[in-house]
Amino acid sequence: MTDNSVPETEDSRLIAAEYVLGVLDAPERRAVEQRIARDQVFAREVAFWEKRLGGLAEGIPAVAPPTSAWARIEAALAQAERRAEERAGLWQSLRFWRGLSLVTSALAAACLAALIYTGALSPPRAALVAQLGAEGGKTGFVAAVNSGGGTLTIVPAALLSAQEQKAMELWLISPGDKPHSLGLIDPNRPVTIKVPRDLLARVNKEAVLAVSLEPLGGSPTGQPTGPVIANGKLAQL
């Protein structure tokens, strides 16, 4: 695809460098960004300069932002999440799940039914769900693979107390395979996880989901390092 406004002269090849350097005006910057999106060779040229000139940022002193900055970011994320919830309806409604998850194992079945029901609103294929049993035979979490298999929602079914200085990490384990991390989860609210592309094929009824206790930030080794507090097999419905 050619762009008439950017003829292929020496100067125009340098426009990638000028963009990274930051000398372009607003309309020129927008034109460059559009070109990055559609022209892979040009995008690589921009990446070359970002990598090479990036070292110049070394000389810029770090300045601690005000402590209120993180709270503002969290508030903005929460607002974006609320908007997404409104779009997604009940399935993504935190308030709905919070209410529903304030239950013990006796109501886990209701949780499961709700997951199936909401998941079944647009089922291109049979849903996969798992009840993750915790110590003492209680259900710790209920998980459902969302339609299409690309995401997985995990809901705390029992009142679990967050442990100081510990994170809960979710693992996908296929028979004969090492555990693969699906990310950190929250004992107080439902979390929807995007299943990494390379793990999609492993999300099937042979697989087991497990939750382990890990240092804050998650397992440092990429494998579970702490005790497994809940696990359960995926099942097709």
Partner: protein, 185 residues
């Protein structure tokens, strides 16, 4: 902590953010916010605007973390590029620059003996960039450094340096062309 370990930790945290992991975003923030705030502040020279941009930066990280490719960029280079782009966009959208310090002041840099983690590029790449910048004309290399750190437009730079706009453009472009030739050698 060793720079390589930090880099791996940050890359792993970004991969978790890509899966919608909120605590991982906090980890990325704790590891990088001071550097990125410094970058925004340098370009915007206004704390409140820099704070606005910092917020946009981490929302972008939250939404775009899946685009981060460890094989193509170091995590801190990727993050600095987002922060610079956001800050430069903000600077372009406001009334003409409120910066008044002489252009040379913008080249003043902190002690380069920054902590290991601050190392954006590998030591080897850093050395290469430095030697290539030393190879080109001094006024060209100074202009390139100043523009990168301060996010000036050609117009601002020409005005502040008392050099005609066309001359400034051709200095920088020639400098970039020579730099590229040297970096690709």
């Amino acid at each position: 902590m060793d720079a390589d370990v930090k880099r791996k930790q940050l890359a792993a945290a970004l991969n978790r953010v890509a899966r919608g992991d909120r605590p991982a975003l906090r980890l990325v923030y704790d590891m990088t916010s001071a550097k990125l705030f410094g970058v925004c502040l340098r370009i915007l020279n206004d704390r409140s605007e820099a704070e606005d941009v910092l917020q946009e930066v981490y929302l972008t990280v939250w939404n775009k973390a899946a685009d981060f490719d460890e094989a193509r960029a170091s995590p801190i280079t990727w993050l600095v590029a987002i922060a610079r782009n956001r800050a430069i966009d903000r600077a372009r959208s406001r009334a003409p620059s409120r910066r008044s310090e002489p252009i040379e002041a913008a080249a003043d840099v902190a002690d380069p003996g920054a902590s290991a983690f601050e190392s954006l590029a590998s030591a080897q790449e850093q050395e290469r960039l430095k030697s290539c910048l030393d190879e080109i004309e001094e006024r060209q290399s100074l202009a390139i450094r100043v523009v990168f750190m301060g996010g000036f437009t050609y117009e601002e730079l020409a005005e502040r340096s008392g050099v005609p706009l066309g001359t400034m453009k051709s200095w920088i472009r020639r400098g970039l062309a020579k730099l590229k030739e040297c970096l690709e050698r």
